[in-house]
């Protein structure tokens, strides 16, 4: 054990004293030892100091924390390290170390954020209103756009109760946005009192009362759950009972709470309910300020666009009236659902989804749609590029300070940690700059003979319709079989019932994505062979009518993962695509996981019975400036392939690496790859292989 600790914690350089730790661990049961050692080893692959700190603390924590929670804590620490670095990660470790067991006596039954967030994210989406995001943070609160929840909800000794409590928090946060709590400036209101903190907490309590009553009306089941969880709460004082009487009325609004605030402020005590959220006036105000102008502009631009569409539809019939175009919106808030009737220039219109979302959001901010929001934007009043989120120019991010805006984030499997690094790869799609040259024509000339042969082979593949004779059912009579059967019958033998011909039409229903290695090592011959292979492939695939897409991939470190669009599934194989194939040039390094994950996602959006993902590569996954080397890269790629397989995609790899036998069978499985010794074989072999794997 000591020797392992020396190795994992690299004590030769770090001088960590592992002898004491080993002694402490030796006193534990074998099972506990293995658990802690396993985690030390896994965390050490992320950062040695973190692993060392974990090792020092874990033995004392184990008796009072469930393993599930210790694991969650370890993974959380690694996540924090990934996102913000060593100092904050160490702080997270210390927090666990300093925690008071009395306060955390139910932690073992706690509901973990990562477990409840996906469920409650969908839950809150089902309730009507603005789409709210769920995020992890220190406490439970909302700014009207996101709901922040703590990493662990552990107030009760029952795990399900803790989940229900998290649900109650989400529902209260939703109710705050839905029923107007966040419509006022809390900071300004609180500033009118000698003790703003106290005023704020009283307002929060009044609002929780009011919102609970709303929930009782709209979601009675949820309200019962809230009452059940709060059964030990203190009874309300007479003053608070009086407040409650007013706030539980059907028409009670934030104004009633504000009217009662002075009286509540004077009360010596303020009740606090189970699941009550914190009120964060600064965050609410900041989110609201950022939202208002943006949404006003967006709504006005969209209204102008809708009007224009409408005018086009009526084109010639339109009268030459000069009155300014007008929009009217009638909000309907009935049966718990928000909806809007829009009339544009006197014509009723079903609002498109994005417009409905905008209207909902504006309505929640004001309790109505202010008239100035309904004036369609005039010509050139707003630049739609500024108002709407447009895709960023993938190269522009490198000119200024680095940011991840507009990029897609993908996880990466950390083999050492045995866990994903969340949102690790920063991926952007780029288009290959097309090069209009003679490459396409030259390739066809160069492989003239082969092209003819290919066409023949692929045409045979296309006509898969065949007649199945002597069937028990079918569209037509098999006359030969019938004559035989009648002769048999005359002879006194039993007549066969296989008398029909059936046309067997096997419609090809295949979608295939090609992922082409564009790493620096493909420079020269390999790059040329890859491009030739793609052209021959496209020629063949056009004959078959299979849907296909071609993407290239490359990257430098996790921050710059690039996927190059050469042909999407919807694009036709035209001159532009041919020019892009010609324009494929070697780029940086071979980071494969993100590319496989992204292409799997794209493939899964295509409607096809069979989905194939073919990688064309010249070597093992490798990223020079990063941990993405050796086992790490191979294991992440393997995991990405497993994920793809789990969704029903068939991955396949064509490689030129002579050493590939060392790792490819591990990544793809024995039969899912093929190794070409000679790069010159590539163009012809690729089509041949394609034929094999799709029939």
């Amino acid at each position: 054990m000591e020797a392992s600790l020396h190795t994992w914690l690299e004590t030769e350089f770090t001088y960590f004293k592992v002898e004491e730790l080993a002694g402490e661990l030796a006193a534990l049961a074998r099972d506990d030892q293995d658990f802690i050692l396993g985690w030390i080893r896994r965390i050490a692959s992320t950062h040695i100091t973190l692993a060392w700190q974990f090792g020092r603390r874990a033995p004392a924590l184990l008796p009072r924390m469930e393993r599930r929670l210790l694991e969650a804590w370890a993974v959380h620490t690694c996540d924090v390290f990934d996102r913000t670095g060593l100092q904050t990660a160490l702080r997270v470790m210390e927090q666990v170390d300093s925690f008071d067991p009395a306060q955390h006596k139910h932690d073992a039954a706690g509901a973990l954020f990562e477990d409840f967030a996906p469920v409650l994210g969908n839950f809150v989406c089902g309730l009507s209103g603005r789409r709210l995001r769920i995020e992890e943070g220190d406490k439970a609160w909302t700014d009207g756009e996101r709901i922040v929840l703590p990493p662990l909800v552990a107030e009760f000794s029952d795990r399900d109760d803790n989940f229900q409590l998290a649900k109650v928090m989400v529902a209260l946060a939703w109710a705050q946005t839905r029923f107007g709590t966040l419509r006022v400036d809390h900071a300004q209101i609180a500033a009118g009192y000698a003790d703003p903190e106290r005023a704020l907490s009283r307002l929060n309590a009044l609002e929780t009362l009011r919102l609970s009553a709303r929930i009782a009306r709209d979601l009675p089941g949820l309200h019962r759950e809230m009452q059940r969880l709060a059964r030990v709460a203190e009874p309300l004082t007479p003053a608070w009972q009086a407040f409650a009487a007013r706030l539980t009325r059907d028409d009670a609004s934030i104004d009633d709470s504000l009217a009662l605030l002075a009286a509540a402020y004077a009360e010596p005590e303020s009740p606090r309910w189970t699941g009550q959220l914190d009120l964060r006036p600064d965050a609410v105000a900041a989110a609201r300020a950022a939202r208002l102008d943006k949404e006003k502009a967006r709504l006005r631009v969209r209204l102008a666009e809708l009007l224009e569409e409408q005018a086009e539809n009526r084109a010639s019939a339109a009268s030459q009236d000069t009155h300014p175009p007008a929009a009217e919106v009638e909000p309907r808030d009935e049966g718990g659902q928000l909806d809007f009737d829009i009339t544009l220039d006197g014509v009723p219109l079903a609002p498109p989804d994005d417009v409905r979302q905008l209207l909902t959001s504006v309505y929640l901010d004001f309790g109505e749609i202010p008239p100035e929001y309904l004036t369609p934007a005039g010509e050139g009043e707003y630049d739609p590029n500024l108002v709407f989120d447009r895709p960023e120019d993938p190269d522009a991010v490198w000119h200024g300070t680095y940011h991840e805006k507009g990029a897609e984030l993908y996880p990466e499997w950390d083999h050492g940690r045995q866990h994903y690094r969340k949102n690790w790869c920063v991926m952007r799609e780029k288009t290959v700059p097309p090069i209009q040259d003679d490459f396409y024509r030259q390739t066809l000339v160069k492989h003239q003979g082969a092209v003819k042969q290919l066409r023949r082979k692929f045409e045979a593949l296309r006509d898969e319709n065949r007649l199945d004779r002597r069937q028990t059912q079918g569209d037509e009579i098999d006359l030969d079989a019938l004559v035989e059967a009648l002769a048999d019958a005359k002879d006194g033998r039993e007549m066969s019932d296989r008398l029909f011909v059936r046309l067997h039409r096997a419609e090809r229903n295949i979608a295939v994505a090609f992922l082409v290695d564009m790493s620096g090592s493909t420079k020269g011959w390999i790059n040329e062979a890859e491009r030739e292979a793609l052209i021959l492939l496209c020629e063949a695939l056009e004959l078959l009518g299979d849907r296909y897409a071609i993407y290239g991939f490359s990257g430098t470190t996790r921050k710059r993962c690039e996927l190059f669009r050469i042909k999407t599934f919807d694009e036709p194989y035209d001159d532009e695509v041919k020019a892009r194939i010609s324009g494929i040039r070697p780029q940086e390094y071979t980071r494969m996981g993100f590319a496989l994950r992204h292409l799997s996602k794209l493939l899964n959006q295509v409607d096809a019975r069979t989905r194939v993902l073919v990688t064309l590569s010249d070597g093992r996954p490798d990223d020079y400036f990063d941990v993405y080397r050796g086992e790490y890269g191979v294991e992440d790629t393997r995991m990405a392939l497993l994920e793809a397989s789990r969704t029903g995609i068939h991955p396949f790899c064509i490689t030129l690496d002579r050493e590939a036998r060392d790792y490819l069978p591990h990544m793809y499985g024995a039969a899912r790859y093929v190794l070409l010794d000679d790069v010159r074989q590539l163009p012809l072999k690729v089509t041949d292989i394609y034929r094999r794997i799709t029939t």
């Binding site: 469920v119 409650l120 994210g121 839950f123 989406c125 089902g126 089941g221 949820l222 659902q337």
Partner: protein, 270 residues
């Protein structure tokens, strides 16, 4: 206990099938019927298309022959084929031919699911020729005035690639169906399943919540049909939360997180 065998070409719907009109679809259908124009019903699954057809068949007092299309449905399956019986070959009409012969209503449900080559057999029937070519018999069948062709498809559910061809869709008068308004849907659920108005109201509210999830992980929200199923279970003594779980949540998704979220929604409403 004996199952009855019915010949659809001779059977007329006697009892009025319950149907709540949403707009002018009944008048439109009747006008199209009189003018001999085929009808295309568009709309999400379970919103009442099939029930509407039954109602129209009852109104017009014509036999209704429904064919559920699937990707192996061939032209012969619709038109008819030769069979061998006792050493003789015998021609047997397909459902489309039977409907034409008896002047009934032929309803091809989820037409997009059928093979592309199958769809062309309905083309001459769907324009002013109103004939059905029976190539194997060497005959043309001319449809009587009473015959009516109706097809349905679900634009949200069908993929772009399987979309209906322009040459097909441009032969039809299209009626668009959607989920009914909340009040109407509540009435339908209460009438069909026998639950109280209050329960029907909650069921509809729950359905709207699931429809909010469309596009955020759910392909389609709960249909009116599913609500009626849930309502029937509730009328039979099953608790509302359990009924919603079995009849709605499990029917719309298999995803564990989504299932749990939908269950939490239903337990919040009831």
């Amino acid at each position: 206990m004996n199952a009855r065998t019915l010949d659809p070409t001779e059977r007329l719907i006697e009892k009025e099938p319950y149907y709540e009109p949403v707009g002018e679809e009944i008048a439109l259908f009747e006008a199209a019927y009189r003018q001999r124009i085929p009808v295309l019903l568009k709309g999400p699954t379970g919103c009442g298309k099939t029930r509407f057809m039954e109602h129209m068949a009852w109104r017009l007092q014509r036999p209704l022959i429904t064919v559920s299309c699937h990707d192996d449905l061939t032209a012969s399956d619709l038109v008819g084929r030769y069979l061998v019986k006792g050493g003789e070959t015998v021609w047997v009409d397909g459902p489309l031919t039977r409907a034409v012969r008896c002047g009934g209503i032929c309803y091809l449900d989820e037409i997009v699911e059928a093979r592309k080559d199958t769809m062309v057999v309905i083309h001459p029937l769907a324009d002013d020729r109103r004939t059905l070519a029976m190539e194997k018999l060497g005959q043309m069948l001319e449809a009587p005035a009473e015959f009516c062709l109706a097809i349905s498809y679900n634009p949200g559910y069908q993929s772009v690639l399987k979309d209906l061809k322009q040459s097909t869709r441009q032969r039809f008068v299209a009626l668009e169906f959607d989920y009914p308004s909340a009040a109407l849907e509540q009435r339908i659920v209460a009438t069909e399943s026998g639950v109280s108005d209050a329960v029907a109201d909650k069921l509809v509210r729950f359905a709207q919540m699931t429809r909010n999830l469309k596009g955020s992980g759910l392909e389609e929200g709960a249909s009116t049909r599913l609500l009626v199923h849930a309502g029937k279970l509730i009328s039979d003594g099953i608790s509302p939360v359990t009924a919603c779980k079995s009849a709605v949540a499990q029917a719309v998704t298999d995803d564990a997180d989504m299932l749990k979220a939908i269950q939490e929604l239903s337990s919040s409403v009831f």
